[in-house]
C-alpha cells in the first residue's frame, strides 16, 4: 500500500501519527481500564454489577439517554427543517445557537437547567402547578440529556437536507402525492440514515454525560443516580476496582449498542451499499 505512488505523499507519516494518536489518547487508557477491571475476580464482577444500585443507575442512564436521543431526533429534525427550508430574520443567529450546547461547560448547563426547572424556577413553577416535577428526578435527567443531545442531530441532518433538491419534492408532487405523502414516503426515508447517525451520536454523548446531569438529577442512589456519577462516588470511596468494573461494563454495553446502530445505519444507507 505505502510503496504505491500517490498524488499526495505522506501516507506512512499520517498513518504513523494516526496510530500513535489513537494509541496514546484512546487505546492505552481504555486498555488500562480493562486491565484494572480484570484484576477483580469474575465472581466479584458479577456481584458488583448486579447490586440494585448499579442496575438502577444503568437503567436510568441507558433509558434516559435513549429517550433523550429519540426526542432529540424529533426536535432536531424540526429545527433542521426550519433552518434549511425557510428564510427569516435572525436565521444565522438561530443557526449559531444550535451549537451552544456543544460549547457551554456542562456544569453551567446543569446549573442553569436546574435553576429554571426546579420547583421554584421560571418554568418549574408552572410545571409544579400542573403537578409535574421537572428537577431532581428522572425527568430532569432526561431534560439535561436532551439539551446536550439535539445539536448532534441538527448537525448531521442539516447537510443531507440541504442536499435534497427541491426537484425531488416537485417530482413527487407532479406524480400526485400530497404534502403528507411527500414527507413520509420521500423526504423522511431519504433523511433516515442521517437521523440514525444523529441518534447514535446523541445517545453516545448522553450515556457519558456527567456535568449537566449531576446538578439537575438530585443524585439519589437507586432513584436519580446515573452510572458516571456512581463511578465517581466509587472512586471517592477509593473503590477503584468496583469503579473500573462498572466503567468497563458500561463501555462494553455502549460499544455494542453503537455498533448495532451503525450496522443498522449501514443497512439503510442505500448510497453506500
Amino acid at each position: 500500500m505505502a510503496c504505491k505512488k500517490r498524488v499526495i505523499p505522506g501516507f506512512s507519516l499520517s498513518l504513523g501519527v494516526t496510530v500513535i494518536y489513537l494509541g496514546l489518547i484512546i487505546m492505552i487508557p481504555l486498555a488500562a481500564l480493562f486491565l484494572k477491571a480484570a484484576g477483580v475476580g469474575p465472581a466479584e464482577w458479577w456481584e458488583i454489577l448486579t447490586t440494585r444500585r448499579v442496575l438502577q443507575a444503568a437503567k436510568l442512564t441507558f433509558g434516559a439517554s435513549a429517550a433523550a436521543a429519540m426526542v432529540s431526533v424529533v426536535l432536531g429534525l424540526l429545527v433542521t427543517w426550519v433552518l434549511v427550508r425557510y428564510e427569516f430574520p435572525g436565521k444565522r443567529l438561530l443557526d449559531g445557537m444550535v451549537d451552544l450546547p456543544f460549547a457551554l461547560p456542562t456544569a453551567v448547563a446543569g446549573i442553569t437547567l436546574t435553576q429554571i426547572y426546579a420547583p421554584n424556577g421560571w418554568i418549574g413553577i408552572h410545571l409544579e402547578k400542573l403537578g409535574i416535577q421537572a428537577a431532581y428526578n428522572s425527568l430532569g435527567v432526561f431534560i439535561a440529556l436532551t439539551f446536550i443531545g439535539f445539536p448532534f442531530v441538527v448537525r448531521t441532518v442539516q447537510p443531507v437536507m440541504e442536499d435534497l433538491g427541491k426537484d425531488i419534492e416537485e417530482a413527487a408532487a407532479t406524480l400526485g402525492a400530497d404534502r403528507w405523502t411527500v414527507f413520509w414516503r420521500v423526504i423522511l426515508p431519504m433523511l433516515t440514515p442521517a437521523l440514525v447517525t444523529g441518534f447514535a451520536l446523541a445517545f453516545a454523548r448522553a450515556i457519558g454525560e456527567y456535568g449537566s446531569v449531576i446538578f439537575i438529577s438530585g443524585n439519589l442512589p437507586m432513584k436519580t443516580e446515573i452510572l458516571p456519577l456512581l463511578i465517581v462516588s466509587q472512586l471517592e470511596q477509593f473503590k477503584y476496582g468496583a469503579a473500573s468494573v462498572i466503567a468497563a461494563a458500561m463501555l462494553t454495553v455502549s460499544f455494542l449498542l453503537l455498533l448495532l446502530i451503525n450496522l443498522l445505519q449501514r443497512r439503510m444507507d442505500w448510497q453506500h451499499r
Partner: protein, 330 residues
C-alpha cells in the same frame, strides 16, 4: 392533448420572467422551448406543469380546451421530467416508476398486481427491462433519465413536460437519447413540451420550435422555418452560425454555408464582393474559409472539402464571394 397558453404574465418581485405570453402547442406535437438562460423558458414550462403559478389575474392555460390554470400540479395530469432526474434514491427503479400509481387516492388506486404489470410494461417501453431491482445510483445518467421518463408516464399524463432533459448527460449519450426520444415520441404520440438551450437539439428533435428571449417569444415555427426564415436578428444569431455584416446603418445576415466562393476572374459586380482569403481550415466534414472583405469585415464561409480542393486556394488569394440566398436585411 393540445396546450393553449394565453397572455401569461409572471414576475418575481421586480423581475419579469414572462411578459404577456401566448402559445399554442398542437395535439401530439413535440415542441421545443428554445432560448438562452433567463429567457423564461423554464418558468413557462413550470407554469404549464402547475409547479409555479402565473401572476394573479393574468392569463389562462388550457389542456384540450379545458382551463387548468387553477389546478395544482398533482391533479393536473402532467408528466414532468427534471434535468437532474430527481429520482427517489431510496427506492428501486420499479418503486420509482410505481410511485405515482401507489400514491393515488385509495378509491382510484390500481391493484398491486396491475401496478406491477404496468411498471413492467413501462420498463420495456424505455428499454430498461431487467433493471427493476436496481437503485438509481447503480444506473448511468441516460438510464436514470429514462427511469424518470417512465415514472412520469406511469400516471398516464395528458401532456409530457421535459426540463432540459439531456442537460446533465455526456455528448454521446445525449445524442443517442435524443434520437431515441424522437422515435419514442412518434410511437406514443403524447403532446410533449421540452426546454432546451441547445439550438441543435431543438432543431433536430422538435416539430415546432419556440424561440424565447427576455420573457417573450421571438418566433414560433417548424425547424425549417425558424432556421431559414428567422424573423428577428436574435433568432438569426441564436440558431446556428451566421455572418453579421454592417454596411452603414444596414445590417445583413448570411449563413456560412449560403455563400459561394468563385475565382476573382468570375467576379460579378451586381451580386458579388471581392475578398481576400484570410484563413483556411479543412480538418472536419466541411471546410471553413475566412475571407476578409475590402472594408475590413470578416466573412466565415463553409464549403465542401472537394470544392475547396477544386479552387486550390491559399491564404492571401483574391476571390469573389456570392451570397446564395436573397439577402435578409433588418
Amino acid at each position: 392533448m393540445s396546450i393553449s397558453i394565453q397572455s401569461l404574465r409572471k414576475s418575481f418581485g421586480s423581475y419579469t420572467a414572462l411578459d404577456d405570453l401566448s402559445l399554442e402547442v398542437p395535439d401530439g406535437s413535440l415542441t421545443a422551448l428554445l432560448g438562452p438562460s433567463g429567457s423564461g423558458k423554464t418558468t413557462l414550462l413550470r407554469i404549464v406543469a402547475g409547479l409555479e403559478f402565473a401572476d394573479p389575474g393574468s392569463g389562462r392555460i388550457a389542456f384540450h380546451g379545458e382551463d387548468v390554470s387553477a389546478i395544482p400540479a398533482g391533479k393536473r395530469g402532467v408528466g414532468f421530467v427534471f434535468q437532474h432526474y430527481a429520482l427517489f434514491r431510496h427506492m428501486t427503479v420499479a418503486q420509482n416508476i410505481a410511485f405515482g400509481l401507489s400514491v393515488a387516492p385509495r378509491s382510484s388506486r390500481l391493484q398491486a398486481e396491475e401496478i406491477r404489470r404496468r411498471v413492467m410494461e413501462l420498463l420495456k417501453l424505455v428499454k430498461l427491462d431487467g433493471l427493476e431491482g436496481r437503485r438509481p445510483h447503480e444506473l448511468s445518467g441516460g438510464q436514470r433519465q429514462r427511469v424518470a421518463l417512465a415514472r412520469a408516464l406511469a400516471i398516464r399524463p395528458k401532456v409530457l413536460l421535459l426540463d432540459e432533459p439531456f442537460g446533465a448527460l455526456d455528448a454521446q449519450v445525449r445524442k443517442d437519447l435524443r434520437r431515441w426520444l424522437r422515435v419514442f415520441h412518434d410511437e406514443i404520440g403524447l403532446t410533449t413540451l421540452f426546454v432546451t438551450h441547445d439550438q441543435e437539439e431543438a432543431l433536430e428533435l422538435a416539430d415546432q420550435v419556440v424561440v424565447m428571449r427576455n420573457a417573450r417569444i421571438e418566433q414560433v415555427g417548424n425547424p425549417q422555418t425558424v432556421y431559414d426564415q428567422p424573423r428577428t436578428p436574435f433568432v438569426y444569431e441564436f440558431l446556428g452560425n451566421v455572418n453579421k455584416l454592417g454596411f452603414g446603418n444596414d445590417t445583413r445576415y448570411v449563413r456560412p454555408h449560403e455563400i459561394e466562393v468563385l475565382f476573382a476572374a468570375e467576379f460579378d459586380p451586381s451580386t458579388d464582393s471581392l475578398a481576400q482569403v484570410h484563413h483556411l481550415f479543412s480538418a472536419g466534414p466541411v471546410a471553413t474559409l475566412t475571407a476578409k472583405l475590402h472594408d475590413g469585415q470578416f466573412l466565415d464561409i463553409e464549403l465542401s472539402r472537394r470544392q475547396l480542393a477544386e479552387l486550390s486556394l491559399s491564404v492571401g488569394d483574391e476571390v469573389a464571394v456570392r451570397p446564395l440566398v436573397a439577402e435578409r436585411v433588418r
